[in-house]
Each structure stands twice: as C-alpha cells, then as structure tokens.
C-alpha cells in the first residue's frame, strides 16, 4: 500500500534530518535527506498519477469513488479509524505538495545556515501534516493532521523568521497559531456535533466521511455545524474578516515557510471546503452561498487594495493571495462543474506563481537585506536574469493568457456566470486591481533610475533552475491545462453532484 508511505516519508525524513544534526553538526546532510524525501514523495505521487484512472469515474453513487484506500482500526469506542483514501482531488494536491516541498528545500539551501537539521525537521513535518490533511477521510484523523501541521509551521516562522517593521517573528507566529487553532477547535466541536447527531439517529458512532455524508441534518443545527467548518476553513483560506494573521505570518516567515504557506497551507482550506463543507452540508451550503460569494468579492477588492498599499514586498504578495483566494471562494460556492475545475486550476497555478514570487523576494532579501520596496528601484539592469523571472511571475499572477492563472480565473468566472452573473461582473472588475498592484510591484522594484551602478550577485545555477522550472510549470499549465483537469474531473463531478442535489440550484 502506497498511501501510508506517502505520509510516512516526510515524517521519517524529518526525524533523520534532526538526528543527523545532533550526531554531526554543520553538514549538508540534512538538506540532502530532505530533498531526497521530497523527491520520493513527488515520484510516488506521479506514479499514482500515471497508473491510476481518474477521468472516467463519472458514476456518482452513494459510496465515494476512491482510487485506493487504507484503513486501520484506531479508537474503537468512538468508531474512529485510521482511514486514508485517494481520489483525483487529493492526488493533485499531494503532487503539488511534493513539488513545492522540493522548492522549499532548495530555496532554503543558502538562506538557512543555523540549526539546519531542526529546520528541515519542521519543514518535513509541515509537509507530512499537509499530506495527512489531503489523505484523511476520517474526520477525527483530518482534524488531527489539520492541527498537527500548525506546530512545525509555528517553529518555522518563530525561529527562522525575520523582523518586519519592528515586529518580532514570534508574535507573528503566535498570531498565526492562535487564529488557526481556535477556529480549528470550532471545527472539532462541529465534527462532534455531527457525530452525536449521527449517533442519535442510528445508534452507531462513526467519524467516517462516507458514512457521515449520509446523515440528514436540517434546521438551526445544520447552520451551526456548517459554520463551524466554514469558519475553520475561512481562517486558513483566508476570507476577509478572518485574514489578520496572514500578512504578518507571510512577511515574517522564512522563504521556505512563505512558499509552503501560500503554496499549500492555504490550499488545505479550499480542499476542506470542497471535500467536507460542501458534501456534508449541501442544502445549508447552498443557502449560505450568496453570503460566501459576497465574502469572496469583498476579499478580491479588499485584498487588492491592501496589496496596493504595502511597502514590504512579501506583504504585498501575501495580500494579493487574499485577493486570489476570493476567486476560489466564488468558484467553490457557485457549484458548477466548470467553476469547480477552474478552482482546482487556480489553486495549482496560484501555488506556482506565489511560490515563484516568494522565492524571488527571498533572493532579493539575500542580496539587498531589505524587503522594503522604497529602498529598491532600478534593479532591472543590475541583477541578471532575476528581474525577467519576476516580470514573468507577476504577469502570471495578474492572470495573463498563456499562464495557468488565466485559465483558472477564466474558468471560474465563465462557470459561475450562468448561476450568479452579477457576482461575476463585479469580480471581473477586481482583475483590474490585480493588474494595478502587480505593475506597481514591478515598477517600484525594478524600473526607475538605478540607485547604484554596481551589479549585484547574479542568480547561481540552483536559483536559476528553481525559478526556471517553476516558470515552465506555470506556462505549461497555461498551455495545456487538460493534464490537471482530467485528473480532477471525477472528484469535481462528485462535489457538484452533492452540492446540486437540491433542484432549486441548476448546475
């Protein structure tokens, strides 16, 4: 069985990294172990990608259509099992996790120079936790990983983070932790509420997704439980009133931390909405859809305006994530197949473009020791290939045709237009904002008169390869998105089916 290994590789790899450092400090060994485990993870995911058959599962029955499963008894008293399962949606996310895991290891090769082993322990365990979130379909297990991955992320931000505007990374890390943990507990209460509801109806304790999905819930209770899930995911996504942790956490995290945060941690929230919030509470979610989409719209504009006002380059990119995730939220709650497929593409594409931009800001910081855009300017001629890459990623982020981001946004807007035309019209106006802040970013950092004549260290081979491969992926996704769409088709079909059971909502 491959599923438990997908999970174990990062955890074991992380422990090895740490032990190596304790036995023999100051070696590059932990980096290589970490890189190896990430490559292994990616290879296994790609193997599953090639060997599985994800596109044809159009038959939507009462049992979910898993490609492979793994189940062990765990806590019998509550009917909790160690239940992992894989379908197209989880596979895409895990492949993405593996890819960005490699990026994160490679981009911290020079940046992290103290406590290397312990750093990689934390990095690997974040990845392990995320893989767990994407694989778990027992709600207890899901929550287990959901909370567990916060701890290593906390360490990454608190210990290897940077000061920003006089704020210590520790306070940013604590803010991140408290936001996500408290909202996570709300989700735990919702899960328990759902389980006890199921228990009173059937007399059986179960935390299994497939079983709980059948529990009919109506009335106030379904609203309360649904909101418990929604708030937990909304904090992580983030949705606007709950986004307070994000700019700080991103700005103060080390590059690898930002890449992971923007690339995969935010995506766990969208995954959670698709996998759990919608199928478990279809009717309530539909009733809630207008509110969720409004929040998405607010996010698009608020995030854009916020990004525009930033002087710290990483904060700008972080705020632009809020805006991009607004599109994702609209896509998810519009519930058409086209929009849902767009959501998947948008997530993957945003992961690449945000990772690229964060890596570039990390490289700028290594060279200039500042992230303040007011102290940059005129860098275009002084940095070799780096500004060119920056331009490409900025174009991707603003949704230029030819990049995956364009396809994602286009599919979301196109798919949602049938259902909620006015929301789409307003959201499209938000694209203008993204053009504005993206161009401002380019303008402030790279254009204008150079401050000094000297050239700054150019990209070395490692940095060049890293950026180039990310760029290639972004463009490949834009030119041939069908690779991803084929895999997610079955899973999205099922989400749409569950979401659209009520006839009032033609999908």
């Amino acid at each position: 069985m491959m599923l438990p290994w997908l999970l174990l590789i990062p955890f074991i790899g992380g422990l090895l990294c740490w032990q190596f450092e304790l036995i023999r400090p100051n070696t590059a060994m932990p980096r290589w172990i970490a890189l190896l485990s990430m490559v292994l993870l990616l290879v296994m995911a790609l193997f599953l990608w090639v060997s599985g058959d994800y596109s044809l599962s159009q038959v939507v029955g009462n049992t979910p259509d898993w490609q492979s499963q793994f189940q062990l008894p765990w806590i019998d008293a509550f009917g909790i099992t160690f239940h992992l399962a894989l379908d197209g949606l989880s596979l895409i996310m895990i492949t993405l996790t593996g890819l960005l895991g490699i990026m994160a290891v490679v981009c911290s090769w020079k940046e992290i120079d103290r406590r290397v082993g312990f750093f990689h322990l934390n990095l690997m365990w974040v990845i392990g936790g995320v893989v767990g979130v994407f694989l778990a379909i027992d709600l207890f297990l899901f929550f287990f990983f959901w909370e567990m991955m916060l701890v290593p992320m906390y360490f990454l931000i608190a210990l290897w983070g940077h000061e920003s505007e006089g704020k210590s990374p520790v306070s940013a890390a604590i803010k991140f932790f408290i936001y996500t943990q408290a909202s996570g507990l709300l989700m735990l209460v919702s899960i328990l509420g759902l389980v006890f509801m199921h228990y009173t109806q059937t007399g059986v304790f179960s935390f299994d997704y497939g079983i709980l999905r059948e529990t009919p819930i109506t009335g106030v209770m379904s609203w309360v439980l649904m909101l418990g899930f929604f708030i937990a995911f909304a904090v992580k996504l983030p949705v606007v009133p709950l986004h307070g942790w994000l700019p700080d956490a991103h700005a103060q995290a080390p590059t690898a931390g930002s890449v992971d945060l923007a690339g995969i941690l935010l995506k766990t929230a969208a995954y959670g909405l698709l996998r759990f919030a919608l199928p478990l509470f279809p009717e309530t979610s539909q009733a809630f859809a207008p509110i969720a989409m409004t929040l998405g719209l607010v996010g698009i504009f608020y995030g854009g305006v916020l990004a525009f006002a930033q002087t710290d380059i990483k904060r700008l990119i972080a705020c632009s994530s809020i805006s991009h995730m607004g599109f994702v939220l609209i896509g998810i709650y519009s519930g058409t197949l086209l929009a849902l497929q767009g959501v998947i593409l948008q997530m993957v594409a945003h992961a690449f473009s945000a990772a690229g931009l964060f890596m570039i800001s990390g490289q700028l910081y290594e060279r200039l020791h500042t992230r303040d855009m007011r102290q940059m300017g005129g860098l275009f001629g002084r940095l070799g290939a780096l500004p060119g890459f920056a331009l490409a990623f900025v174009m991707a982020s603003l949704g230029m045709p030819g990049t995956g981001n364009f396809i994602g946004e286009f599919l979301i807007l196109f798919g949602a237009f049938d259902v909620v035309p006015w929301v789409v019209v307003i959201a499209s106006a938000g694209l203008v904002l993204s053009a504005i802040y993206s161009l401002i970013l380019m303008h402030r950092v790279y254009w204008g008169p150079p401050r000094e004549k000297t050239t700054i260290a150019r990209l070395d081979g490692r940095e060049y390869a890293m950026l180039l491969s990310t760029l290639v992926l972004t463009i490949a996704l834009g030119l041939y998105p069908q690779v991803v769409l084929d895999i997610s088709q079955g899973a999205m079909h099922e989400v749409r089916h569950w979401f659209a059971v009520s006839p009032s909502f033609a999908g």
């Binding site: 765990w74 806590i75 008293a77 287990f144 567990m148 906390y154 890390a173 408290i178 408290a182």
Partner: protein, 482 residues
C-alpha cells in the same frame, strides 16, 4: 463484620504503604542515609503498585462500611502511586544538594500517598475526611520543607491556613447532610435524599459546602487564591506531587460523590458548578498570560485545566466518568513531566528553584532532549494532536457536546485559545538564542538518572497515548464498567 483474606488483599496497597512509612521512619531513627531511604520508599510504592494486580482479583469488595475497593478505586490508586513514585525519583536528585535533613521528606510523602489511596476508595464521609486530612497535613510539611527560604515557608503556611478553612467547610457540610439524612455512607445518603422529605435548602447548603471544600483543594475560582503562591514557593518535586496526587484524589472522590449520591436532582447545584467551571477556565487562563515564573504559570494553568475537567461533573453521565479517567491520566502524565523538567533543571537544590522563564531561554541548544520533553508537554497542555493532552481535550469536548453544555464548550474553546499564548511563549523560549546571562542547566548526565529516565518515559507515554490512545481508553472503560 469478619475480616477475611480477600478483605486483606483488597487492603494490600494501603497496608504496604503503611509498612513503608513505618520502616522509613524507623530507618531514619536508626541511621540517616539518603539513598537507602529513597530506595526503601521507591520499593514500597512499587510493591503497592504491583499489589494492585492482586487487588483486581477480589474487586469489587466492600471493606468495612468505610471503604469500597472497586476497579474505579484501583485505577486512581494506580495513578496516585505512579505520581508518588515520580515525585520520589525527582526528590532524590533534588534533595541531594539540600543543606538540612533530607530523609523525613519520604516519610511525609508516603503518608500523603496513603491519604490519597484512602480517599479514592472511600465510600463514606468518615473515610473521606480521614483520607483528605491524611493527604493534606503532610503536604504542609512538604511545601515548607525548605523552610529556611522565605517562599517555601510562606507557601506551606498559606496552604495550611486555606486547607484548614476548607476542612471546616467540609465538616460543616457533612454535619448538615447528616442532620438531614441520618447517615454518612454515600449510597445511604443518596437514597435518603431521593426519598425526599428533607429540607431542600439545608441539603443544598450541606452539599454546597462540601463542594466549596473540594473546590478549595482543586483550586477552582473563586477559591483559587492560594494556588500560584503555593506552586511557586514549594520545592519543585513537592509542586509536582501537589499538582497531581491531591487533584486526582479529590476529583475522583468528587465524581464518586456526584455519581453515587444523586445530587444530580438539584438543578441549582449544577448551575453553580457550571459557573465555577466557566470562571475557572477564564480566570485561570487570563491570569497565566502575564506570568514570567513557570511555576506560577503552571499554577494558573492548572486552574484552567480543572475548569475544563469540571465540565464532566456538570454532565455526570457514563461518558463523563470515562472522560474523568482519561483526562486525569493525560493531565497527570503531562504535569509530572513538566515539573520533572523544572526539578531536573533546579537539581541539585541550590537555595531556590530555577523557575523564572528567562533561565529556560535556549535550553534546546544545550539539552536538546530535555527541551524536547518540555516542548511535548507544553503542546500536550495546549491540547495539540499527537499528544495525550489532545485526547483529553477531545473527550472533554465530546462530553460537553453530548450533554449539550454549549456555554462550557465555548469556555473550553476560548480558554484553549488564551492558553496557547502562554504555552507557546514557554515553548519558543526554549529555542531562542541563549543570552549571556547566568545559565542553569540540568546536570549533563540527567538522562542516566532515575528522575531523567522517568521524565523521558512520561514524555514517550504522552506521545504514544496521543497517537494510539486505544489501550488507555480500554483501561479506563473497564475500570468504570467493572
């Protein structure tokens, strides 16, 4: 009533601890020897622990009207003995540098354990009071053991005064209940009370006073004022003992009282307990936020934790019994290991404990495994998955949701969010860059000594039970059903 062999077997743990205390006392009178005394105590407590296996063959059994030895009692006896053993191992390393008589400490500890054992088996007001006093009185001496330091003496005296006040409440409450029901046995009491006919207000007052006394011992708001000072002043191994044994014994007894004497019928009492629980969660966690002394911080955090646990008293159903056992096991393991780390860093005794948070800065880079233990404990106290504390919190939330105590569930969530702030602060302190200030460390061979091994075992237990809690759940549920 005739005393048969099975009665003797049921009393075996109590007898063994009694004999241990007497042997230790005579040993001290004959010749003082620290290592021998500590070893004798350890052997005695271990023997008592093993004897519980024999006890299991005769349970449930009533030994005189005073004691009921059932699986429930055996479970908490085991927990008390383990906590006692852990405190003994910590005390051994700690007292090595102590510049006064070291040996009497173990005698006091043995007496106190005996009191705890009596309490969890008691089924009668008399044995309750007897056990509680036997538990508390040696604790005054233990808290003030380093009586030449002002803080320790102060802590002993504070604990004594407040305990005496609590005992007075307890006795008065018992007297009122006796006046109404004419019986001191829990079961009888419950039966008479449900027959009705008594004056409801007297009953409420009687039970209310008993609850107040217990709340003193459990340091629940508004009877918590002694906690931080006593936790801070008492020597670290004593604090470990105080924070575990006395809480286990009193809480196990409180649950038994609530389950066997159906005070459940008095709705207002439940409201009062719920208010106490909510206030404890809030006040404990809020007060802990600004602490720079890790022992004080743990004191306030214990208030919050007991507040969470009090949710089960309000629920008072079968799941609540299970939750009590699980939460106490996880809490005790976590608390013991936390104070274990503090005691190890403070060992051998040099005049006062290393409790200020700044001394722990950068501990990870000097003593990685010790700091890792502390990290796991902080995560467990905060209730993060992969640690036993999460299972405990999960059960408390499950109990709350099942009994639909939404206010208390909200309290647990808010309390946890608050508590994260200070647990994380302690945790990150271990990893920050060490400063140039004076450093305190556990001795470099801490891992090879009894206290160190005990702390590492507890940390492993916390991790294993967090990942695979099934054995613990089976154990506790068999103790409840049996």
């Amino acid at each position: 009533m005739n005393l048969t062999l099975s009665h003797l077997i049921a009393l075996l743990p109590l007898l063994i601890v009694c004999v241990t205390v007497i042997v230790v006392m005579l040993g001290i009178a004959w010749r003082r020897h620290h290592v021998v005394t500590a070893s004798l105590t350890t052997i005695g407590l271990n023997a008592a622990l093993v004897s519980l296996l024999a006890v299991l063959t005769v349970t449930p059994i009533r030994v005189s009207p005073l004691l009921l030895v059932d699986n429930y009692a055996v479970l908490y006896m085991a927990l008390i003995l383990i906590a006692g053993l852990a405190s003994t191992t910590l005390a051994h390393a700690y007292l090595e540098g102590f510049d006064d008589q070291k040996e009497e400490f173990y005698m006091l500890l043995g007496c106190s354990v005996l009191g705890g054992l009596t309490m969890v088996a008691s089924d009668h007001m008399l044995s309750l009071f007897f056990g509680l006093e036997l538990l508390s009185v040696p604790l005054y001496g233990m808290a003030a053991y380093a009586y030449r330091t002002r803080l320790s003496l102060e802590s002993g005296i504070k604990y004594m005064v407040l305990s005496a006040a609590a005992s007075a409440f307890l006795l008065f409450g018992m007297a009122l209940l006796y006046a109404e029901s004419g019986s001191l046995a829990f079961a009888d009491l419950g039966a008479r009370l449900t027959e009705g006919g008594g004056h409801a207000s007297w009953l409420l007052m009687g039970i209310g006073m008993m609850v107040i006394a217990m709340a003193f011992k459990l340091s629940l708001v508004p009877f918590h004022l002694w906690t931080a000072d006593v936790y801070e002043g008492a020597p670290a191994p004593v604090t470990a003992f105080l924070a575990t044994v006395s809480k286990i014994a009193v809480f196990a007894l409180l649950m038994r009282l609530f389950m066997s004497a159906p005070v459940t019928d008095i709705a207002s009492l439940h409201t009062i307990v719920a208010i106490i629980a909510f206030l404890s969660m809030m006040v404990g966690n809020l007060m802990a936020l600004r602490q720079d002394n890790i022992k004080r911080l743990m004191g306030y955090s214990s208030i919050g934790h007991l507040g969470y646990l009090l949710t089960v008293v309000v629920a008072s159903d079968d799941l609540a019994l299970l939750t009590t056992g699980i939460y106490l096991i996880t809490y005790v393991a976590t608390t013991l290991a936390t104070f274990g780390v503090i005691a190890l860093v403070s060992s051998p005794w040099q005049g006062s404990d290393v409790a200020s948070l700044k001394f722990y800065r950068g501990l990870f880079w000097r003593r990685p495994y010790l700091a890792a233990v502390m990290t796991v404990m902080m995560l467990s106290l905060a209730g993060i998955p992969m640690t036993a504390g999460f299972i405990g919190k999960f059960y408390v939330l499950a109990t709350g949701v099942e009994a639909q105590l939404w206010w208390l569930v909200a309290g647990v969530i808010i309390g946890s969010a608050l508590s994260l702030y200070y647990y994380l602060r302690v945790m990150v302190m271990l990893y920050l860059h060490p400063t140039e200030e004076e450093q305190y460390d556990a001795s470099s061979d801490w891992g090879q000594r009894a206290g160190g091994i005990m702390v590492i075992l507890l940390a492993l237990a916390v991790l294993v039970l967090g990942i695979y809690p099934q054995p613990m759940i089976m154990l506790v549920s068999s103790a409840i059903l049996g």
